[in-house]
């Protein structure tokens, strides 16, 4: 559990990328790193420029926390590839983080609005 959810304060995941990877795995099922990168690219409609290598750092971090698990499989080009899947604790974390994100987003939106009004 991230410490943020315990104390009730808003603490975003290590990076937004981690949250994006988790969401992707939740909605798409098991994927390899390349697949995740493509999905993020597709969703963001190329507005997000991503150093795709960092996806792997994010995957490592998530594995360490036990939120995703990895199994070996075969990729489209017939190479050995690691498929990542979200775990149960990963789902719990995603729900919590999504809530956090929405609260945070709400706060920021309101904040920006006040800035615009003044």
């Amino acid at each position: 559990m991230a410490k943020g959810t315990q104390s009730g304060t808003i603490d975003v995941l290590q990076g937004t990328l981690d949250l994006m990877v988790l969401t992707t795995l939740e909605s798409m099922g098991p994927l390899h790193g390349y697949g995740i990168a493509r999905r993020i690219e597709q969703i963001s409609e190329a507005t997000l420029r991503l150093n795709e290598g960092t996806v792997y750092t994010s995957l490592m971090r998530l594995q360490q926390r036990g939120w995703i698990s990895a199994t070996w499989g075969t990729s489209e080009n017939n190479r050995r590839a690691k498929y990542y899947a979200i775990t149960r604790s990963g789902r719990r974390q995603l729900t919590a983080e999504t809530k956090n994100w929405e609260r945070m987003a709400g706060v920021i939106t309101r904040l920006l609005r006040t800035v615009q009004q003044s």
Partner: protein, 897 residues
């Protein structure tokens, strides 16, 4: 909660640490595959393959960075640093075997000494006794105020035990035990073993099980039913070859058949020797138990020679129980002996005290001494580490200059100390195991009884804790110093002159070592002097060139007194005929060994009419039967009158000086000759005093001697006799001849140990000897460590100031000036240490005054001699490097600088 989740996260991370290289390879593979897939996609959308590949690479970013990050995520930084330090320490230790061996040996010595003593201390003083609820068991003793001066306390009697047991009290259970001498015959060589008569509940009282067979039943305390025994596991193995059919068989003890009903547990612990009470003397081993055949009698003529153990009831109050026992015994005395006007008190001694009371103070003192030794080893180790740090100043300065944190430098040095501590600790534990085994088999009787020679958890824990604390204590200061090297100065000056500070702390450490060594040496000196005084003290008999052998006659051949007398006569005359024997005689109990109550009697004057009225005002004396040659053989001095002869017509006695003083305080020894007294009772025959001899004191000199009445053995023949032989030469050399002479007369007699009187007396002062020897060993080791440390420091300072010395010589200083200069500088910490150590030793010895015999804590002989030993050793340690300094070639020294 937060800490817990952090810990969980940490543990989760830890899983990835060992496989982190493999993970890295996998990520590399994934990244390559990723690039390929991406490139293929670009090719599909119309790019040229090379271009596509480039674009893919660009999109994936810096892969090296990704790999680095992943590696960092998966490693725990400080863990890696520690692993590095350990490897580094290992390399250092193997690269400098001289330093490593010195450090490891130093530490191993300190750890093994403290661990051995701790292990003994633990098993004697701390480990729960192997009984059910041992803290509720007490030994009950009786104090008769009028007797107190001669007998500080009395054990109980069988009658007292029965009265206590049958009354209601705060005690849930009671058990009685008394000594029993057993001569085993029949199945194998005749043998005399120690035994005990115990109440039927003895084993269940202690809560120990009988390992095979059964325990005693309550109805077996009746006379006639008591011909059964339980034997020790050791005897069962030794004499009967662990024969499982022995239980149920009959064995012959003192010529009568006894059925073996059980074998005691091998771990059974029972009081031996005079541990329970001086008046209840068991053998040094107890191997046979039989039920007490208790019958109710009057208290008159009752023998007060049984120990009584009581168990406090779960809700019992100790003081209330004590008062109940006191009331019962006084009521019993009032009813049965109305003319006896006294009020006895009862004291309850915790069972632990029975086993540990005599040696506790000595063990604590030894533990203190071993701690001082460990401290010396610590100082010594710190000293070595400081020297190492100094020689590595350049390295540390370089590391600091290259950006290493101070914490890293500290960690490097501590890692080295820890390496030493672990290896030294392991060797120390191995040595301690040997040490404990030695102490458990050669230590004094109480230590042998209680100590377990096996490696145990408390001992191991102690050793490991001691090693770690030592490593930290020794490593931190040098580490702190190392981290403070000024990089610039150290690098500029080639790591030479910046160690003034380290040199100072090393001199302080040497001073500390010297102080500790002095304290240990001085204490050892005091104990040694005290021990010499104990051994040399006048006991009233000779210790040198005297042999003693216990003879016990039993069986049909010696059933009648005349046949025993004939045997003794023949034995003594054959002994006298042996070449090298100047005198021989026999006595019923050696005065050197603890007295037996069986032989102590109240001495009455001829005019005493009513026993109960006078008994408490008359002295108690030991009655000993002797043959005529005993006095000459033992070296007992005649003060007046004559010795006994072999043919005494009437009841006569030779008495000891202290008895004349008690019976006839107004008379001189000479005028006591011819006076009359009675033994035990007002109606017993009058005995004439024919001679007065010097008092015979017990070997340990731990209490005032009871007066002795020596009677011709024909008149006082109780139990076994001891042959005493005075030799012209080394008594031990004569032992085989003595043995052969006994065999010649009767080859069926059990061959008992033949010991020199010195051995017998030594065994009574085994605790003193144990303490003295160990303290001396510790002191010598401390002295050695101190001397080596001093030698190292002086050599080092000579090496550092070679240039300086060269300069002095070049400027005209003589060789002797240099020698004196170096020597004096080296001896400074020694003198300070000597002074501090002596003050400490005297203060310590004051607290231990009770352990010293006729030696003051400030004893000039012991302290002076030991100071001299220290000064000579330290002097040698200083002189060697100093003389090297004096031989410095000024030209070479100046050039090399």
């Amino acid at each position: 909660m937060k800490a817990l989740s952090q810990l969980r996260a940490f543990v989760a991370r830890l899983r990835f640490v060992p496989g982190r290289r493999r993970l890295l390879d996998e990520v590399t593979e994934e990244l390559e595959s990723h690039v390929e897939l991406l490139a293929a996609r670009y090719v599909r959308s119309g790019m040229a393959p090379d271009e596509a590949r480039l674009a893919a690479r660009r999109q994936i970013g810096n892969t090296t960075r990704v790999r680095e990050e992943i590696y960092t995520i998966n490693s725990i930084e400080w863990l890696g640093a520690v692993a590095y330090d350990v490897r580094y320490a290992y390399r250092l230790l193997t690269k400098n075997p001289g330093f490593s061996v010195a450090a490891i040996v130093t530490l191993a010595l300190g750890i093994s000494a403290t661990t051995s003593i701790f292990s003994i201390l633990y098993s004697v003083l701390l480990k729960p006794l192997p009984y059910k609820d041992p803290e509720r068991i007490y030994s009950a003793e009786i104090i008769v105020p009028e007797r107190r001066e001669q007998l500080p306390s009395l054990p109980a009697s069988v009658q007292a035990y029965l009265a206590w047991r049958d009354a209601r009290s705060d005690f849930s259970e009671m058990a009685a035990l008394g000594p029993w001498e057993c001569n085993l015959t029949g199945d194998a060589e005749p043998e005399r073993v120690g035994g005990a008569r115990v109440s039927a509940n003895f084993f269940s009282f202690l809560g120990v099980s009988v390992s095979s067979g059964r325990g005693f039943n309550a109805d077996e305390e009746q006379p006639g039913k008591e011909r059964i025994v339980i034997i020790s596991d050791a005897l069962w193995h030794r004499r009967y070859g662990a024969d499982p059919t022995l239980v149920g068989r009959s064995i012959s003890i003192n010529g009568e058949g006894h059925e073996v009903i059980g074998i005691a547990s091998p771990t059974l612990l029972v009081p031996t020797g005079s541990l329970l009470h001086p008046q209840v003397p068991f053998a040094t081993r107890v191997d046979v138990w039989t039920p007490i055949a208790a019958t109710r009698r009057g208290l008159n003529n009752e023998n007060w020679d049984h120990g009584v153990l009581v168990r406090l009831a779960p809700d019992g109050r100790l003081e209330a129980g004590r008062q109940q026992l006191e009331a019962i015994i006084n009521e019993m005395a009032r009813v049965q002996m109305p003319n006896l006007k006294t009020h006895a008190t009862v004291q309850l001694i915790p069972i632990r005290e029975i086993y540990a009371g005599k040696i506790r103070l000595r063990l604590l003192m030894l533990f203190g001494a071993s701690a001082l030794l460990l401290l010396t080893a610590c100082a010594s180790l710190a000293n070595l580490l400081l020297a190492r740090v100094a020689t590595r100043a350049n390295e540390f300065a370089t590391r600091l200059a290259l950006g290493a944190g101070r914490a890293r430098i500290v960690s490097l040095t501590v890692a080295e100390a820890t390496g030493v501590a672990l290896i030294g600790g392991a060797i120390g534990i191995a040595l301690a195991t040997l040490g404990v085994r030695g102490l458990a088999s050669y230590g004094p009787a109480d230590v042998r009884l209680m100590a377990s020679a096996r490696l145990n958890l408390p001992m191991l824990t102690f050793a490991i804790a001691a090693s770690i604390v030592t490593a930290l204590a020794c490593g931190l200061y040098p580490a702190w110093r190392a981290s403070r090297y000024q990089m610039v100065t150290a690098l500029q000056e080639g790591g030479r002159s910046s160690f003034g500070g380290a040199g100072r702390s090393r001199r302080v450490l040497v001073g500390l070592e010297m102080a500790l060594a002095t304290a240990l040496l001085a204490t050892a000196g005091l104990l040694l002097h005290s021990f010499i005084k104990v051994m040399q003290a006048d006991r009233g008999y000779e210790i040198e060139r005297v042999l003693a052998a216990d003879i016990s006659l039993f069986g049909d051949r010696y059933a009648k007194a005349p046949s025993r007398a004939a045997f003794y006569r023949e034995l003594v005359s054959n002994m006298r005929a042996l070449p090298g024997v100047s005198a021989a005689g026999m006595i019923s109990d050696l005065p050197a060994i603890a007295s037996t109550t069986r032989a102590s009697r109240t001495i009455l004057l001829p005019t005493d009419a009513i026993f109960q009225q006078v008994v408490l005002t008359r002295p108690v004396a030991m009655i000993r039967g002797v043959t005529s040659g005993y006095f000459a053989a033992s070296g007992t001095a005649l003060r007046a009158g004559r010795f006994l002869t072999d043919e005494e017509p009437g009841p006569v006695a030779v008495i000891s000086e202290s008895l004349t003083r008690r019976l006839w305080p107004q008379e001189s020894a000479a005028s006591s000759v011819g006076k009359l007294f009675r033994q035990s009772n007002t109606d017993s025959p009058l005995i004439t005093v024919v001679g007065v001899v010097g008092d015979a004191r017990p070997g340990a000199l731990d209490r005032d001697p009871l007066p002795v009445v020596y009677r011709p053995y024909e008149h006082w023949a109780i139990g076994p006799m001891t042959l005493v032989v005075r030799t012209a030469q080394d008594p031990a050399a004569l032992a085989p001849a003595v043995r052969a002479t006994i065999r010649d007369i009767d080859h069926n007699l059990p061959i008992l140990a033949i010991r020199t009187m010195r051995e017998i007396v030594s065994s009574t002062v085994a605790e003193q000897q144990f303490q003295m020897m160990l303290t001396s060993i510790f002191a010598l080791i401390a002295l050695l460590l101190g001397a080596v440390g001093l030698y190292g420091v002086v050599s080092y300072s000579v090496a550092c100031s070679t240039r300086d010395i060269g300069l002095r010589i070049a400027l005209g200083a003589g060789r002797t000036d240099v020698l004196q200069w170096v020597f004096a500088r080296g001896m400074q910490p020694v003198l300070v240490g000597l002074f501090v150590g002596l003050v400490g030793a005297i203060a310590g010895a004051r607290a231990l005054r009770n352990l010293l015999f006729e030696v003051a804590p400030t004893d000039p002989l012991a302290l002076g001699l030991m100071s001299l030993v220290l000064l000579l050793t330290a002097g040698l340690a200083c002189y060697l490097p100093a003389s090297r300094a004096a031989r410095v070639d000024p030209a070479a020294a100046l050039r090399s600088g």
